[in-house]
Assembly symmetry: C2
Homo-oligomer: 338 residues x 2
């Protein structure tokens, strides 16, 4: 037996490695079914187990529901259900209130089969725990963490951070508001607000009609356009009267992370603030948004409690207020430290 080249590639080959491991694992469980001559296809396992749970809770299950719960495609579940129906292990009936839906449920034969399999499932479960915890390991927990990390940010956007993207960044264009781009204002901001907080009513109104809520009130909106990804970022100045503005609704699509779009966008709008002769520019945010706050700090914003007192009530989620110090204004304003 030769060596394993994937070891040399280390984390770089993580995907291939996981694939290989999952194939071995699934082959092994398939062996288990075969050894105990369960006339069952291992790929049906998750669906059977899910139907069993639904069955004992007297709930029903449709194909799309199953595909969401199991993380498989809808055609996959469509196929599995048909196969299980052919084996007379489940029955598929058309939903009464919505004739598009197919309601899946175990047949009596299916229920018996599930009961026969349960001791085997238990044994596999114990054997898997064995495998996961051997050599002082805790593989299962480690995998859960990886899943969490992966869903919080994919490998693609993480990769961007480690690549020199200067050339592409130079091609990111900042565009002023135009009605045709208004929908991007909504989708981009919804993505991150939904992700971190709950959309407040005031948000919804502004996002759905930025024209009347921001532009027509003397505010400004900009968009960041990436050469291949399209509009990926946005940001607004909300007119608070007396030549004061709130920097708000600044967001960059998840799919464009790692490209420093936020930085380019912020630097652009701060330059605009200067050339527009704005007197006061501030923002409200939440301590949760660490990386955003770091970006603001890096670009001349300082924490300021008087702002919090004056405007902080507008949003439930705000507990951080910041003031921009890069404007040429009266000398009572503090200047950023060099």
């Amino acid at each position: 037996m030769q060596q394993d080249f994937l070891n040399e590639l280390a984390e770089l080959a993580l995907g291939s490695r996981l694939k290989r491991m999952s194939e071995r694992m699934l082959a092994s469980t398939s062996d288990v079914y075969q050894e105990f001559s369960m006339n069952i296809n291992p790929k049906w396992f998750t669906l059977m187990a899910l139907l069993d749970v639904k069955d004992s809770n007297k709930q029903v299950l449709t194909i799309v529901e199953a595909s969401n719960l199991l993380g498989l495609s809808q055609p996959a579940l469509s196929q599995f259900s048909k196969q299980l129906q052919n084996e007379k292990l489940i029955k598929i009936v058309i939903d009464q209130s919505d004739s598009r839906k197919r309601v899946l449920s175990l047949t009596p034969k299916g229920r018996v089969r599930v009961q026969e399999m349960k001791p085997i499932w238990d044994a596999v479960q114990q054997a898997a725990v064995d495998l996961c915890t051997e050599h002082n390991n805790d593989f299962y927990r480690s995998l859960l963490k990886l899943e969490k990390s992966f869903s919080s940010e994919s490998l693609l956007t993480r990769t961007r951070r480690y690549l020199d993207q200067t050339a592409i960044q130079a091609q990111v264009m900042i565009k002023p508001f135009e009605p045709a781009l208004a929908h991007h204002f909504e989708t981009i901001n919804k993505e991150w607000i939904d992700d971190m907080f709950v959309l407040e009513t005031i948000d919804k109104q502004v996002l759905e009609d930025p024209q009347s809520h921001i532009i027509n009130q003397g505010g400004k909106i900009w968009f960041a356009e990436h050469p291949t990804l399209g509009i990926v970022g946005t940001c607004a100045f909300w007119n608070k009267g007396d030549n004061s503005f709130e920097l708000t609704k600044m967001g960059v699509l998840k799919s464009a992370r790692g490209l420093k779009v936020g930085e380019i966008l912020l630097q652009h709008v701060l330059d605009e603030a200067k050339s527009l002769g704005i007197k006061k520019l501030f923002l409200l945010t939440n301590a949760k948004c660490e990386s955003a706050i770091h970006l603001y700090e890096k670009n001349g914003f300082i924490h300021d409690n008087t702002i919090m007192q004056d405007y902080g009530q507008n949003y439930a989620r705000c507990n951080v207020a910041m003031l921009y110090t890069g404007l040429i204004t009266d000398v009572t304003m503090p200047l950023p430290k060099q």
Copy 2:
């Protein structure tokens, strides 16, 4: 977005979970290549990387070698090579000294492509490390441990331990030596000796011809036959003269672990020892063989240093000697504690 039912199944769905994770991972790396418009199929990655290493070490690579090093099937590598040849990234030539072999190597174009990809590989590597270590995790190491655990014993044989197999165990038959079964004596013992130690010359001779080395010398050999798996275990008595025997070459195939074949076999041969009127039965082994020693202890063997002094020199690997206490013999022999 609905919940994830795989969470409810916990370790039981480990295979499906790994599969899902590997698919996401590979899709993400595929996105990376696409974003940086590398005209390359992600599935070729491991082969390209391997060819690059071989190239810079001025070594060559054949298809079977590649499939071993990468843990993929030979047809897979056969296909990949053809595809890479069509892309003019590698060239395939017939080996001069063995015309069955195909020698793979990078073309100049292939070398250029690899160099173009290297910065991306580096970035992906760093991003993957990121992913693996986030939230105080160490996923990569945990996966390596799992691979080790899995290759030391598969899920199937681990599962057996947690299932009630009384019925099947009752069907395990113990058969005496017959020439037609002699090859099992070699394969079964070779498996575990190769795995734990190095085959000594004395082993080889005995294993290759048990008839003349054991049977014709007044010794005994038995085989354990499983109803579906066939001959899975063996064990011998080596005649040391003066009605004394060494229990030796006891082994059970890896693929039959967890079925308690060893226990059934040992109990059978100890019964035979009694009915044959044997005066002294001992064995030599190594402290590494913990589970075997535990089995011997459970069945009436005790540790005995005089045996070690008398016979221990025969094998380099022996550092544990045990004596069977279940024989009806003179009263100077110690009896097992109840």
